[in-house]
């Protein structure tokens, strides 16, 4: 049953992935000719060099042929080559991926660790001052531009503190260039970007937990738990939260695209060497093939995340049957 379900979900994902490749490659194809930036203007290039470059990039072939060879390469782990220096895109991605995972992973963990108790408090003290404050903070959290929040944090915790000769937090990169690189140094660098990234998710998830918890607490089995003589804490955190968390898993899975996208802006602001920043840097150099390779790779991550969330949901909720 489960195997069949996984197989079917996986197959559906593969179709989506194939579709995504068609969409992105068609996009690239739509601007054929103006492809290689400045190639026609560079006086050092002879016409035969240009032709050779175009051939290397597969620009002289019809779309379907180009597409098929691209897919074939992807199946072998080759996500194309940079238009700037011909280096394999995959090696850049693998270079940057650990940093992105470090940042987004931290942000997810912080987001969940803080949003769950906040959501529970909001639900338990519904209508109280605390609840109102949490609501206001969450509504504000939706409205703060992430890049601006990043800039403000840098202004306050790096620039201003530094100006006043106080201990300050690093504002750029994943570790210090010279002395750094140890775990403490990495954590110091992580604080500001992870704060920004987790803040938005915190405001989304705490609201979500709150409403999910409110619904769960009104269920009959909560009354049963109380009738058994359980402490309120056990009722809320064992019987209530276990049920309220199940939908959160799906939400996190569905928010994964947002986490990768949101990560991009934060990575740029904080000079964080992740795959988002990679795509951004290469975009400024009009390195289409790298941007596309990264986009495709991020899409794969997202689809895998959704699939994983789906399966996890089934594990956590015994009511789900794969049929």
């Amino acid at each position: 049953m489960l195997a069949k379900y996984i197989a079917r979900r996986f197959l559906a994902s593969v179709i989506v992935v194939l579709g995504v490749t068609v969409i992105t490659l068609l996009l690239m194809n739509s601007t054929r000719g103006s492809y290689v930036p400045g190639i026609d203007l560079n006086p050092a290039l002879r016409p035969e060099d240009i032709a050779r470059l175009r051939a290397n990039l597969g620009l002289d072939r019809p779309f379907y042929e180009w597409y098929m060879s691209w897919i074939w390469a992807v199946l072998h782990g080759d996500f194309g080559r940079s238009m700037i220096d011909g280096s394999p895109v995959m090696s850049h991605i693998l270079d940057r991926l650990p940093n992105t995972l470090e940042l987004t992973g931290t942000a997810i963990v912080i987001g969940v660790l803080i949003s769950v108790p906040l959501g529970v408090i909001g639900a338990l003290r519904r209508g109280s001052k605390t609840d109102h404050v949490l609501t206001v903070v969450s509504v504000a959290g939706f409205a703060v531009p992430q890049f601006w929040m990043g800039l403000m944090l840098i202004l306050i915790f790096s620039v201003t503190l530094q100006q006043h000769g106080l201990p300050w937090l690093p504002s750029s990169g994943a570790f210090s260039a010279y002395a750094g690189g140890d775990i403490l140094d990495r954590i110091l660098h992580l604080i500001l970007p992870a704060t920004v990234l987790s803040f938005f998710y915190l405001s989304v998830w705490s609201r979500f937990i709150r409403s999910s918890m409110l619904e769960v607490l009104s269920q009959d089995y909560i009354r049963t738990a109380r009738a058994k003589g359980m402490s309120e804490r056990r009722v809320v955190y064992l019987h209530g939260l276990r049920n309220a968390l199940i939908p959160l898993i799906t939400l996190i899975g569905l928010e994964l695209p947002g986490l990768v996208s949101g990560g991009l802006v934060v990575e740029v602001v904080f000079g964080w060497p992740g795959i988002g920043k990679l795509a951004f840097e290469r975009a400024l150099q009009y390195d289409y093939s790298t941007v596309m390779g990264v986009t495709f790779f991020a899409t794969l991550l997202v689809i895998a995340g959704n699939l994983l969330a789906d399966l996890l949901y089934g594990v956590l909720d015994p009511r789900i049957r794969y049929s």
């Binding site: 179709i15 989506v16 992935v17 579709g19 995504v20 969409i23 992105t24 996009l27 690239m28 739509s30 601007t31 509504v139 504000a140 939706f142 409205a143 703060v144 531009p145 992430q146 890049f147 601006w148 929040m149 800039l151 403000m152 840098i154 202004l155 620039v159 201003t160 100006q163 409403s211 695209p257 990768v260 996208s261 949101g262 991009l264 802006v265 740029v268 988002g276 795509a279 951004f280 975009a283 400024l284 009009y286 289409y288 941007v291 596309m292 990264v294 986009t295 991020a298 899409t299 997202v302 689809i303 959704n306």
Partner: protein, 308 residues
């Protein structure tokens, strides 16, 4: 003695629940509007958006009458002015007046946001209605396509498109809308599927109405509340996306001021003036906050089912 199975129960049957009207009646709109009007915070937020939009429309007038400078007016003697009487919100590294630039920036930011919402809604509604109404393979193909578009992390797609197409305001709106329509389509399709079940659609078809007429005259009015809610909740998010793209240098290009691109170089001038960073961000924050509050109010008023 009487046994359990021989005894009828005491419950009085509940009065029959009235079935919902075939489509939102006139009173639905009146009631929703009344509910919205009763929400003071929501109305205040909506009013703020209208005021901002008016200021944006009248930007040239403000330049002439209030601030007396054009957004691109460079004055190298007046760089990094602090907020004060001469420049209410100070000046930037080229001595340009921040307030003037924010007012002109509103044209871009709000204009692109409204345009994006309009594009997303029209494409999304069309696709969603067609998919939901016809069902079958048309539905399958269209919705799988939506799945694909929504599976790509949006910002990567924006980056890819903005280097491919080098956007102006209108193409930027089109780029953002090229993702936004997907979720609208899903929403509309779901709504159409539920409306389609109701008897009045069958009744209308039985009197010989064609597909187009059914969709435009009968399905669309039913989908409208969902669209209104989606539109008002979407504006804030789109302002944020647009600002982020401008900030990254992938959207509206200088010297045209926009709220996002005013922050692009902010990091270089941290040590000279924190105000240059603060004001555009605060403007974006207030605008998005007001849109979200208004959007929530609209949702509560127009779609009581969704009220949390």
């Amino acid at each position: 003695m009487i046994g359990p199975s021989r005894v009828a129960e005491l419950d009085v049957p509940a009065a029959g629940v009235e079935t919902g009207a075939a489509r939102p009646a006139q009173s639905y709109w009146n009631e929703s509007w009344e509910r919205l009007r009763a929400n003071r915070v929501g109305m205040a937020a909506g009013l703020l958006i209208v005021v901002f939009a008016l200021i944006a429309l009248l930007a040239p007038l403000f330049s002439l009458v209030v601030t007396h400078v054009q957004p691109q007016t460079i004055n190298l003697d007046d760089t990094f002015f602090r907020p004060g009487l001469r420049h209410l919100l100070g000046t930037d590294e080229l001595g340009r007046d921040t307030l003037t630039r924010l007012i002109w920036g509103a044209r871009v930011s709000l204009g692109v946001a409204f345009l994006t919402v309009a594009m997303s809604l029209s494409v999304g509604t069309t696709v969603g209605m067609v998919a939901g109404y016809y069902g079958g393979w048309i539905d399958d193909v269209l919705m799988r396509f939506v799945d694909m578009v929504l599976a790509i992390p949006a910002i990567f797609l924006f980056i890819l498109m903005s280097i491919l197409f080098r956007p102006n305001a209108i193409t930027l709106a089109a780029i953002v809308a090229s993702v936004g329509w997907g979720s609208v389509a899903r929403l509309v399709r779901g709504e159409v599927l539920s409306v389609k079940q109701r008897d009045f659609i069958l009744a209308t078809r039985s009197i010989g109405a064609g597909d187009a007429r059914l969709m435009v005259r009968h399905l669309l009015p039913n989908v409208l509340p969902v669209l209104i809610v989606a539109a008002s909740l979407g504006v804030g998010q789109i302002i944020l996306i647009e600002a982020a793209l401008d900030f990254l240098g992938l959207g509206i290009q200088p010297p045209t001021p926009s709220w996002g691109n005013m922050l692009t170089n902010a990091q270089s001038y941290f040590f000279r003036s924190g105000f240059l960073v603060a004001f555009p961000g605060i403007t974006i924050f207030i605008t998005v906050l007001a849109s979200n509050i208004f959007g929530n109010a609209v949702r509560d008023a127009f779609d009581p089912r969704l009220k949390s």
